[in-house]
């Protein structure tokens, strides 16, 4: 059943909040369909960062002067806002990082003393490299085994295979909430329940999920949840590691230095409490301010209508794409986000992407940092269009026209 466009959703008003969209690329209006790689920023986010530097900037924590107090309040207010946004039980369960990649690295590094060579780590075939390599390295350090949950041809996790793979030796299950390449929305609640049954830790990579669905980490009951600010209409260089208090407490620190200590002598160091134990050095204060502003922006629009609009765009684009001869959609899960990956027989994604760019259409081409998934499908890359609530049906039509032109030029 296709989602229909809701005439009540005023996409032009939304678009006026995003100044970057109002420009031409190669003589044509910019059509930005690369939202899975990074979303654009509303004016309010841009001005919040600018205002922070104009009015409130100093280093956070420990300062007695007014600017330091203001910067600290702004930084900690961001943490509170993020905690509410994903319904964490406590503000101190929110660790601010550079992004999803650093968040996963933090956990995979800091869990090292708890892992031994009899243990097994489970990931899935559709993981981003950022949720593969840190676990490979953990296995190299500890001798543990990395096991991969297979997917079916539609790009859905094989839960039967998972039930065969998961066992008493499974210490960690780490998987993506929404696949950045396939758009598959994984049944993470079921996976988390299976992991709990064998007392394994769970980490959910929510980089592609937070902008497109409500996240309630308490309801999910995951141990860790990670995401990046820049895929949530916030700035780059800021991200989140949510961890249950007892899980974060069990981890050793990731980096050492200022901020993360309570007391230092030349003989020994006492580590700080959560969340500061995991935030060594001066943090990205302006990034945190911008991320809070992005969350505020999402709170100011009708998210239900916005998300319906994204899926209506997805369904419309998919129907149009399927009319193109020799097209193959990569990722046809029943439960999908507004991401479409496709290939056109005998034509290379880079050539298509370059020609689309000449018509102002920004799509991503290549392996999308999921090389093992490309191997699974026996392809070198795909063309990926990923939609946001600021995209329009007319833009989809332009992409389809540009695709026709590219195919004619290259065939």
């Amino acid at each position: 059943m296709n989602k229909e466009f809701n005439k009540m959703f005023d996409v032009e008003t939304i678009r006026s909040d995003f100044p970057i969209l109002n420009q031409e690329i190669n003589g044509s209006p910019l059509i930005y369909f690369d939202n899975s790689a990074s979303t654009q920023k509303p004016k309010s986010v841009i001005s919040s960062i600018s205002n922070y530097y104009k009015k409130d900037h100093s280093n956070v924590h420990r300062g007695v002067h007014s600017l330091s107090v203001r910067a600290t309040e702004a930084y900690e207010e961001s943490r509170r806002s993020i905690a509410q946004f994903i319904n964490a039980a406590h503000d101190y369960e929110i660790i601010l990082t550079k992004g999803s990649t650093e968040s996963i690295n933090l956990v995979a590094n800091s869990i090292t003393p708890q892992i031994n060579k009899e243990d097994e780590i489970l990931i899935t075939t559709m993981e981003h490299h950022s949720n593969i390599v840190p676990w490979q390295e953990l296995c190299i350090r500890t001798g543990a085994k990395l096991k991969v949950i297979p997917i079916n041809t539609n790009g859905e996790i094989d839960l039967n295979a998972l039930s065969q793979l998961i066992n008493k030796r499974t210490r960690f299950v780490s998987l993506v909430h929404v696949s950045n390449t396939l758009g598959t929305i994984n049944p993470i609640k079921a996976v988390i329940e299976m992991a709990k049954s064998v007392d394994a830790y769970t980490l959910i990579d929510g980089a592609q999920a937070v902008a497109h669905m409500d996240i309630d980490v308490q309801s999910l009951d995951c141990d860790f949840y990670v995401f990046s600010g820049h895929k949530l209409y916030g700035p780059t260089g800021i991200g989140v590691l949510y961890g249950k208090e007892e899980c974060l407490q069990s981890l050793t620190p990731y980096q050492y230095g200022g901020e993360m200590i309570l007391k230092v002598t030349f003989e020994e160091t006492t580590y700080n409490e959560l969340p500061h134990k995991f935030e060594a050095g001066t943090p990205n204060i302006a990034g945190a301010v911008g991320l809070r502003s992005a969350i505020d922006y999402l709170g100011s629009i009708d998210l239900d209508m916005a998300r319906n609009h994204e899926m209506a765009l997805h369904d419309y684009a998919l129907n149009q794409l399927l009319l193109i001869p020799n097209i193959e959609i990569i990722g046809t899960a029943n439960n999908k986000s507004a991401i479409i990956s496709f290939i056109i027989k005998n034509l290379h994604p880079h050539d298509i992407g370059t020609i689309l760019n000449q018509k102002g259409v920004a799509v991503r081409t290549g392996h999308h940092c999921t090389m093992p998934l490309m191997d699974h499908y026996k392809i070198s890359g795909t063309i990926r269009a990923s939609f946001s609530f600021y995209n329009t049906k007319d833009e989809v039509d332009v992409m389809i026209e540009a695709l026709d032109m590219a195919i004619n030029m290259l065939s």
């Binding site: 290379h348 370059t354 290549g366 392996h367 070198s380």
Partner: protein, 140 residues
């Protein structure tokens, strides 16, 4: 756009010369573009005194065309000439100034790539891989 996907590039990209694996492979080398996942396999069917390269690729039109032009340009050259040619062409691709007085008109079509910075690595991959292979040959 027509300038990039001009006739010469399309001809070499869609019907590349020296495409395939020779029956006898004296030495081979794989090239990989980690940014996009493109791969090229280069094969030398003869020894260092008589350079002759063939290739297989899952690359884009630009990569295949560049590989085709590379084999035409350097096959039958001496090792030293081939290395110098590769250096000249790689610099020419990066700067858009492959010299028509020195190289064939077909090869100079690669001068357009500089206007598409995200595609320069596609065009360079065959030449880089050939240089690695020839270095292997030289010190074999």
């Amino acid at each position: 756009m027509e300038k990039l996907y001009q006739t010469t590039i399309l001809e070499h990209g869609q019907r590349p010369h020296n495409f395939g694996k020779p029956q006898t492979v004296f030495i081979s080398r794989e090239g990989f573009n980690h940014l996009c996942g493109d791969k090229i396999s280069l094969y030398s069917s003869k020894n260092k005194s008589n350079l002759y390269l063939m290739f297989e690729s899952v690359g884009c039109v630009i990569c295949k065309a560049s590989a085709s032009l590379m084999t035409i340009t350097i096959n039958e050259s001496s090792i030293e000439t081939a290395i110098n040619t590769i250096d000249d062409i790689m610099n020419g691709i990066k700067n858009g100034n492959i010299d028509l007085d020195v190289f064939s008109e077909d090869v100079t079509c690669l001068n357009q790539i500089v206007n598409y910075p995200s595609r320069i690595n596609c065009a360079l991959l065959p030449w880089k891989t050939a240089k690695d292979l020839i270095e292997d040959l030289r010190y074999d």
